[in-house]
Structure formats: structure tokens, C-alpha cells
Subunit: 257 residues, 2 copies
DNA sequence: TAGTGGTCTAGACCACTTC
DNA sequence: AAGTGGTCTAGACCACTAA
């Protein structure tokens, strides 16, 4: 164990300031140029220190504005309840909560949070939906924000034969969203009944880190959801990427024989 | 969406090479100086590209040796089946598979993979087991390896009033393990019936990274398990830390009303 | 417009690994 | 000894934010 590199030392110092509470969440940390001057290093090195902290998820940077101690977000507990019928059957506005912006949340521009396209099915999508690989399927991609903070992406795939002509296939932003997919399928006589979720965690790609506004060290959780009717007919396959630090998943089941 | 930075582009190109299989796990990626020359950028920029990939866990770097495509371990799918009765009721050796070393796996020294102690209950443990905080509970801690690779830790907590005098409370290493906790509870007239699992992901502490032999960029998944009898009586609370890259969790449930 | 983070260059030195 | 990743300097330009 030799000397720590200067950029590490600066990061250490700032990290200490933060955990000691002398720098509070939301507060701005010194600018790159200030750090460079104070520690007698080049701006590159000072910038590197901030990069390290960003990678650890200790700070967030806002281009042109400054670097800030990261505010910890409230953690949401995701259980089967979020798919409960009463959430999408009775009223119109609120769909299954986890996938939709909450009512108090301002949506960004529609085309950024929701997009519907006809795309060729990838191998995975084709297998799950039982359609030929490469054939057209409807893709509904959305970025979900909560209190202005992006929390996860969710991309659903549907068979054209199931949803053509329904609100789900409407490419106008925002149309399919509020009604949700589940109510539409119920109207079509294909009521969703069973869900399989598969979860795994991994580091984010740099693109995901950017979209979700997280550090590169902050993991994401991949969620693969398959929704079936009572007959076992698959009506939707969905793929989501969640900022792991903002969620807990909860499942309760009976021990099988 | 403007141009991607050169360092990003190089990272993109290498990432594509890797996912296309032209660069295989374990194989060396081009050296910083080679990349710099090939892409006509400075070494700093080429190095930055590798830093990005390292942060994503796509490659690992060995100082003085080179950068290599990360080797991926086989992935296990964990579903409710791993708790199935037939796995712990009939025979003796194999318990619920996920928590135990598989038969073909060499155990390390007993005291490293399994340890039973009487410890004061933490707040969480006390709340779940419904005992006074700080009162003694049995703690059974183990490190689970598979094919010689450590995959996760699992620490169970039991009420002394439930398990005192049973194999679970036997502090000798290896005793409680093979029999598993579930069979013992069944013998005691408290057959496990329902399980609640809560999952979350986070970066590893440096200690966990060492134990699980993973990089600091590779996330871990925390699993909190509560096991109940048919009457809803909690018989076990368990806490595990998994190397995220080695598992997928799978749950199937009916949509609630 | 002034201040901020993001990124780049060209060259340098160090520590480590491999032969 | 040769090759590798890790880090640094000093200065530069760009894109973005805020007043």
C-alpha cells in the first residue's frame, strides 16, 4: 500500500466531508477549478476526483451548473399488489403504479417518456410471444420518472394480431399510457391473470447511467415480465431497467411440494 | 443527441466486438497504446475508453499485464422450486439447493463455510422474529461455494425457544448444514409453509467483494427471507448477499384483485 | 456573459508483469 | 528489458446553465 493518487486523495477528502455532514445532500461541492487551485493540481486531476465520486454514486453532476451531493431517493417496495385489478380496472387514470408516472409527477415531453413503434422481434421477444423472429411486433418504450427523477425504463412488446387498432398501438405519445395495457387487454377478452418476473442485477451501461441519472457504480436491476391470461396465453413481454437503489422487490409464495 | 465522445466511441466499438463474440471472455483486448494509434487519439483518451468498460464490468484490467474480457460465471436460476419439500423432506444430504454447497463441491474448512453462534438480536432480526431487541438469538452463517467459486453468503436467525437442543443450535461446523433447517422445523411440528423474499441490489462493500471474489463494479443482491408456518408463525429470518452476476431470480404469481 | 462540467491532446513518469 | 495499465500536467475547446 503506497501513497494514494492525488485524485483519490481529493475524492477521499470530499467523501469525508460528505459523510461527516459538512456537505449535505443537494449541496454543491467545490468546482473543478477551485479544487485544482486548492490542492495545487491540474484541472484534469481535480475533474478526475469528481468522476470517481460520480462513479461511486456519491455526487451527481449537472453540466453547466455544478456538482452536488446526491440526494437519496425514497425507496419503493414493489410487490404483486402493484398489478392489482382494482388499480387498472375501475378508474381510468392510474394504471399499475410501478410502470406509470404517478399523478403528482410532471411528465417530460411525451415523446421522451413514451414511444410506440412497430419493430422486428428480437430472438427473446419472438420466443416469448411465440412469433417468428424478425416479424413485426409493437414496442412500447417508456422512461418512468417519479418526482422528477427518472427511476426506470420499461419496454413492452405485443403481438400485432392482438393489439392492432387498439389504444396500445396508437403511436401518439401519451395515449396508451394512462389507460395502460391491462385494461385494454381485458376489453379485448384477454384478461391478464398471471405474471412471471425474472430479476437480475448488473452494472449499468454508460448510456443507462446517463438516462437514469445514476453513477456507474450504482447497479441496475433488469426485470423481465411475462404476462399471461388464465389459459396461459402470453399477451405481453416487458423488459425494464431499474435504478437499483430506488427499489425493493417483494415476493411471497407457498413452499411447493 | 450530438456526437458521442471519442472515448465513448472506442468503448462502444470494443463492447460491440465483445458482444458479437469476436472477443471472447478471458481474451486480451488491444493495449491502450494500440488503441490510441488505431483510432488516432491520445493515450489518455484510449485509456479512458478502457476505464469506462472497466466501470461497466465488461473488462477487467491487470496492471502490467493487459486488459481482458471478463469471464462470466454460469448463471443459476432461483425460483420457489429450490425450497420444494421433496428436496429436504425425503433424503438427508441435499437440502434446499440454493443455500447449500452442491454435493460435487468441496467444502472449505468447516468454520469458514458454516458457523453457529448465539448473538444479540439486531433491530431487524428482533422485529421479524418478534423478540426483544438485544436478546439472544441463534445465528447460522455460511458462505456457499459452487464449483469452488464463492457465490453467496447466507445468515439465518432462529429463536432460541424454537431451536435450542436441536441440530440447528449445534455449534459444531457442518452439523446443521446437511440436515438443513426446514427438516428440523418439520420434526418440531413447525413445518415451513410460506416464504417472503425481498430483494435489492447495491454495490458491494470492499469486504464482500473480497469474500465473493468479485470486482468493485460488480453488484451484489441482498436477499431477505422470512419463513412462516401455515399459522403465520415466523420460524426463520435469513439474510444473504449474492454475487449478482451469477443468479437470476424468478417468481410467478397470480394478479391480485 | 460568466461560470460550470466534459473531454481532448501530447508527452511524461511510475509500478507492475512477463519474458 | 519490453510491454502494460495508472496517473499526472498544462492548456485548450465545447456545451450547458444561470443570471
Amino acid at each position: 500500500m503506497t501513497d494514494r493518487a492525488p485524485s483519490q486523495q481529493i475524492a477521499d477528502a470530499l467523501r469525508a466531508e460528505i459523510s461527516a455532514g459538512r456537505l449535505s445532500p443537494g449541496q454543491r461541492v467545490p468546482a473543478v477549478r477551485d479544487l485544482a487551485e486548492r490542492y495545487k493540481v491540474s484541472r484534469t486531476t481535480a475533474s478526475r476526483a469528481l468522476m470517481l465520486l460520480k462513479g461511486e454514486g456519491v455526487i451527481v453532476t449537472r453540466h453547466g451548473s455544478g456538482s452536488y451531493v446526491r440526494e437519496s431517493h425514497p425507496i419503493r417496495r414493489l410487490g404483486p399488489d402493484r398489478y392489482a385489478r382494482h388499480r387498472w380496472q375501475v378508474t381510468t387514470v392510474d394504471t399499475y403504479a410501478a410502470d406509470m408516472p404517478s399523478p403528482d409527477t410532471e411528465q417530460r415531453q411525451g415523446h421522451q417518456t413514451q414511444e410506440v413503434n412497430l419493430v422486428p422481434a428480437s430472438d427473446v421477444v419472438a420466443r416469448v410471444l411465440d412469433v417468428p423472429a424478425g416479424s413485426d411486433v409493437y414496442e412500447r418504450a417508456r422512461i418512468v420518472t417519479r418526482s422528477g427523477v427518472p427511476t426506470h425504463t420499461m419496454t413492452s412488446y405485443y403481438r400485432p394480431t392482438d393489439v392492432a387498432g387498439t389504444p396500445i398501438a396508437d403511436p401518439s405519445p401519451g395515449i396508451a399510457g394512462p389507460r395502460g395495457g391491462f385494461a385494454v387487454f381485458t376489453d379485448l377478452g384477454m384478461e391478464p391473470h398471471q405474471i412471471t418476473e425474472e430479476l437480475s442485477a448488473r452494472p449499468p451501461t454508460s448510456h443507462e447511467a446517463e438516462i437514469l441519472e445514476i453513477g456507474l457504480a450504482e447497479p441496475v436491476v433488469e426485470l423481465h415480465r411475462t404476462t399471461r391470461t388464465k389459459d396461459g396465453y402470453v399477451i405481453e413481454y416487458a423488459y425494464g431497467v431499474h435504478a437499483a437503489s430506488r427499489f425493493v422487490w417483494s415476493y411471497t409464495f407457498d413452499i411447493p411440494d
